[in-house]
């Protein structure tokens, strides 16, 4: 989608339209605000966490047009016209957990779980693109997310459990669930 050119002097806000978890939002934001702050403070979805604000920890990872991105290293205005999925968008509206959330619970993947939004969103993309990853592939793909509590084994097991859950839920259903339910 092409965007028109815009200019916003210091202090002036810009209107943007963004779809977050399938809900359309029209926001007026100061261009310097990070997308993470916009999602957390302006939209009120605090499930996306900030661990470093310089792109290393991965806690802020969200899906922007389906691709995992650091919400701390994007401006809110970058989301203009985009479709965003955050941790809050994974479960069904009735509260049923997404198979990856369920798998991570079963595997007891997390402790403080501050890192979990980033791992979950990275895993959604990983299993969509590679539904049957090897342990090495899982470790490599998740190496952009830091966890200080677990030593990672339980998280890798969580992804492996998710492969099983997604595999069984995909049987007899459309490809939608096989992609983690996130377009």
């Amino acid at each position: 989608m092409s965007l028109p050119s815009v200019n916003a002097p210091i202090g002036q806000t810009l209107p943007i339209s963004v779809t977050i978890n399938e809900t359309a939002h029209s926001l007026d934001i100061e261009p310097r605000r990070s997308l993470a702050d916009v999602i957390r403070e302006d939209v009120g979805l605090t499930g996306t966490h900030l661990g470093c604000e310089h792109g290393v920890c991965g806690a802020c990872t969200i899906l922007v047009d389906g691709e995992p991105s650091r919400a701390c290293l994007m401006l809110g205005v970058h989301a203009d016209g985009a479709e965003i999925t955050t941790i809050e968008g994974l479960a069904e509206p009735d509260g049923t957990k997404h198979p990856i959330q369920e798998a991570m619970k079963q595997a007891m993947s997390f402790q403080c779980a501050f890192c979990s939004p980033g791992f979950l969103m990275s895993t959604v993309a990983l299993l969509r693109d590679n539904p049957n990853p090897t342990e090495a592939e899982i470790r490599e793909e998740l190496s952009g997310n830091l966890c200080r509590c677990t030593g990672y084994t339980s998280i890798v097991e969580g992804v492996e459990t998710a492969v099983t859950l997604l595999g069984s839920s995909a049987l007899g259903s459309t490809g939608d669930q096989a992609t983690g339910g996130v377009a």
Binding site: S116, L142, G151, I155
Partner: protein, 853 residues
């Protein structure tokens, strides 16, 4: 043995099961409430101006331009906040140690990069940071103290004017006939070791949100605190702004307050008679010799606490890890609370990662010289250790780094039979960030001892395994107490884990693997380390280090059954990843004989839970925290059973409770529920809401138990061309008694080992010689990823003892054993001794002789 196990898994038997975490139902769907998520309507945001210099005096500060910036509500200079707050006082004192007093801000002198100079409160954090750039400060730089060696120089610029140079404390103690043992042993082997600075680095930084009630001025503080009650009291004391006499007058005139105080004091004195008698005042005397102002401040704060009828409420919600770093009460906590109180407006401060690296908690920069007295046959006879601990600029509060050498004093000889031990050393101040407890704060005693055992073994031409096997304390011949004082139960023997670990190592295979590695230009090595850990130790553990300290350490808990039958358990713990909600439900549900979801666990809110000085820390959550849950639940079940027996017209001893059905044994069809019993009592008491059963208890653990023991074995594979290290296998054999939830225990162990892997191969908090911080971002302080941490095998032993709730802590051990096992493995692989803990690839190749230093 089996009997004991049965009493520990009553009811539905959740104990010991891998019960999935109830926490995950909110945390994994983005519904946790972490401190940064607390954004009350109209909240203002705070940012600190921090010193760019390690050591400087402040000549002037000009905040005019910053204060004028649109969106800024107030710029507080250090002096302004200091004027309305009281200083941090030493709580923990020891003979020979001086602890400097300090205020929440630095108004005359800065002592480390990141020291607090001014505070901006603005409509957003963005604007607050804009304002920081407009504050003008004139500094005069002073000579910095960047290293331990510099701190020991006699004429170096001093951080604290009342200290002796930059030495804050001298400690020494000895046990057994040291001189005799050292003069008679066949060999005395001496080496020097050093460990560089590390930092805890939880993924969530610190934060505090101070809500101010417009009508009453009451403060409700949401904070990442491991110890919310300690924070509440500290803030109540430090925000006291009226004089002592005035407050004393207020107190005297308030009869209710006076009566309540007298009752509480009497209760405290009678409960702690022994501990109070045991206390010695040598620490207080040492402190007063250096700084008499302690008494004046203590007096003022004590009077403030007496007079005040409105203490802050502290709430700790979901916390994103801490590893010790969120236990201490920090200057930011006080400054932000004082600012919010002064403005009468709610204020949020969330530490950013750069701030966290500067002063969110640092650890383990320690040097040691160790001598071991040993006979030619490998019999260990004695040990002497000299240490220097670099505590950074400001002492931790309420527990300073002094705790570390006091714990070394108890632990250092480890699980080996020796006749004599001596520890001498110094705590020094440098221009660096604060030292805090970091997962097994004393862990370097294990690293030092276990590394040294390998050195000694090679000197004597014995294998490291044989040397340990010869000297490790074994069941059957174990003393009742360590040479350093604490008692030990012989069922908690390290030897068992050590023997099992040896069984699990295939030494023939190891030789083959070593040869295969060598053939491709690699080196393979194996390292072993054993330790015991007071988790939390027997009740006499801490008082062996600091007489009388045990009175602050019991664990309180409360159980209630509400009029509608709901079971609510109140813990004084403040969990931050350890899954307390799940494990406490398991324990309580078993006692009550109900499903997990029938139990609610309340934590973290000082208005609802009982006082606890430590909160979550010191490996107490499993043994003491769960212990007091079990005790109170059991007592309430007894009371409920009595009422139910009346209702069912049976004897109490015939009542059984299964899955919430309270019935006469064998007649489940005619059962009643907790709700029925509660309703009956409520009717009798003529109430309709609130608790109808309440039981509050204290628990200190029992007997000589409380020891967790473990042996770690690490295999490392080193590429001599790159210095990169892989860990093909890592094994932990551990015994923490009966396991409440193996999923939780495994996670704690693996997480601890991962931090140990980090400490050895990736993590070093770098300051240069001028005390400038070099690792200021996550590009420089390297927390390992899933690619660096290996799979970790765990073998559980689960030895049961006779005690009630004999679960022992397991949160710290991983980090205690790993650095020792890993450095021993590197040493074995390279065939050289390793005397430092941090081994990045370049250092590996230097040690291997591949490149020049």
């Amino acid at each position: 043995m089996t009997d004991t196990k049965d009493t520990q898994t009553s009811g539905l038997g959740f104990m010991g099961q891998r019960v999935q975490r109830v926490e995950d139902d909110r945390l994994l769907v983005g519904k946790g409430e972490f401190v940064a998520d607390v954004l009350p309507e109209g909240v203002l945001h705070a940012a600190f101006l921090r010193s760019p210099f390690p050591h400087a005096t402040i000549n002037s500060i000009n905040v005019t331009a910053a204060a004028r910036l649109p969106g800024v509500h107030k710029v507080f200079t250090g002096a302004e906040l200091n004027a309305i707050t009281n200083p941090f006082l030493p709580m923990f004192m020891a003979d020979g140690v001086y602890t400097p007093l300090y205020k929440c801000m630095s108004d005359e002198k800065v002592r480390h990069v990141g020291d607090l100079v001014a505070l901006v409160v603005a409509e957003s954090r963005y604007v607050a940071e804009d304002a920081l750039e407009l504050i003008e400060i004139d500094y005069t730089e002073l000579t910095p103290v960047g290293t331990i060696d510099q701190a020991l120089e006699p004429n170096r610029e001093q951080l604290w004017e009342k200290a002796d140079g930059n030495v804050l404390g001298n400690l020494s103690d000895s046990f057994g006939p040291v001189d005799q043992v050292f003069s008679r042993a066949d060999h005395v082997i001496t080496r020097t070791f050093e460990c560089p600075r590390q930092t805890n680095q939880p993924m969530e930084t610190r934060g505090t949100v101070v809500k101010v009630d417009k009508a009453t001025g009451h403060l409700e503080i949401h904070n990442t605190s491991q110890a919310p009650h300690a924070l509440k009291w500290a803030l109540a004391a430090m925000l006291t702004d009226e004089g002592g006499i005035k407050n004393f007058g207020k107190f005297v005139r308030n009869a209710d307050r006076r009566q309540a105080f007298t009752a509480a004091a009497k209760d405290f004195l009678s409960k702690n008679k022994e501990s109070l008698k045991a206390q010695d005042n040598a620490g207080q005397v040492s402190q007063l010799k250096k700084d008499k102002s302690l008494l004046k401040h203590q007096g003022k704060m004590a009077m403030g606490l007496l007079a005040s009828t409105d203490y802050p409420t502290v709430k700790a919600g979901d916390i994103g890890g801490a590893f010790g770093s969120k236990g201490p009460i920090t200057r930011e906590d006080v400054a932000v609370a004082a600012a919010a109180k002064k403005l009468g407006k709610s204020v949020q401060w969330i530490e950013d990662r750069v701030e966290n690296l500067m002063d969110g908690g640092q650890a383990r920069e320690e040097q040691f010289t160790i001598s071991m007295a040993v006979d030619s046959d490998g019999t260990l006879r004695g040990m002497k250790v000299d240490f220097v601990l670099d505590q950074g600029a400001y002492p931790g509060f309420p527990i300073s780094s002094l705790i570390i050498p006091l714990l070394w004093k108890l632990y250092m000889p480890g699980p080996y039979n020796i006749e004599a031990f001596e520890l001498n050393g110094q705590i020094v101040a440098t221009n660096k960030g604060r030292v805090v407890p970091y997962r097994g704060p004393w862990a370097n005693e294990t690293w030092l001892r276990e590394r040294m055992l390998d050195v000694v073994a090679r000197e004597l031409n014995i294998t490291p395994a044989d040397l340990r096997a010869k000297n490790v304390m074994r069941e059957g011949s174990m003393p009742d107490a360590f040479i350093t004082g604490p008692t030990i139960d012989e069922t908690m023997s390290v030897a068992k884990t050590f023997d099992r670990a040896l069984e699990m190592i295939d030494f023939d295979q190891l030789e083959e693997d070593k040869a295969a590695a060598e053939a491709k230009g690699h080196r393979l090595g194996l390292g072993i380390a054993s330790y015991h850990e007071a988790a939390p130790g027997p009740p006499n553990f801490f008082s062996s280090a600091q007489p009388g300290s045990d009175m602050l350490l019991s664990e309180d808990g409360r159980a209630e059954i509400q009029a509608d039958g709901r079971i609510v358990m109140y813990t004084s713990q403040s969990p931050h990843g350890q899954s307390h909600e799940t494990t406490y439900k398991q324990v309580a549900a078993d006692e009550f004989g109900v499903p997990l979801e029938d139990v609610e666990i309340v934590w973290g809110d000082t208005d609802r839970t009982q006082f606890s000085f430590l909160g979550t820390g010191g490996s107490r959550g499993g043994p003491l925290g769960a212990g007091v849950m079990r005790m109170t639940a059991r007592e309430l079940r007894r009371q409920v059973t009595d009422v139910a027996a009346d209702m069912l017209e049976a004897a109490s001893s015939d009542i059984e409770i299964i899955d919430g059905n309270i019935h006469v044994a064998g007649v489940p069809a005619k059962g009643i529920t907790y709700a029925d019993v509660a309703a009956k009592v409520a009717t009798d008491k003529r109430t309709t809401s609130g608790p109808v059963f309440t039981e509050q208890m204290q628990y200190d653990g029992v007997g000589n138990g409380g020891w967790s023991v473990a042996t770690h074995v690490a295999w490392v594979d080193i590429d001599l061309e790159t210095g990169l290290v892989e860990i093909p296998r890592y094994l932990v054999v551990e015994d923490c008694g009966p396991i409440i939830n193996p999923g939780v225990v495994d996670g704690q162990i693996r997480g601890g080992v991962a931090q140990g892997v980090g400490a050895v191969f990736y993590e070093r908090h770098h300051y240069d010689e001028q005390a400038n911080l070099l690792s200021t971002t996550y590009m420089d302080y390297l927390v390992p990823t899933a690619m660096e941490i290996p799979h970790i095998d765990i073998e559980h032993m689960e030895t049961l003892t006779d005690g009630e709730n004999d679960a022992r802590g397991t949160g710290e051990g991983g980090m205690i054993g790993a650095p020792a096992a890993l450095t021993n493995a590197v040493s074995d692989a390279l065939g050289v001794e390793v005397y430092e803990q941090y081994l990045p690839p370049y250092r590996i190749l230097e040690l291997a002789g591949v490149i020049d230093r």
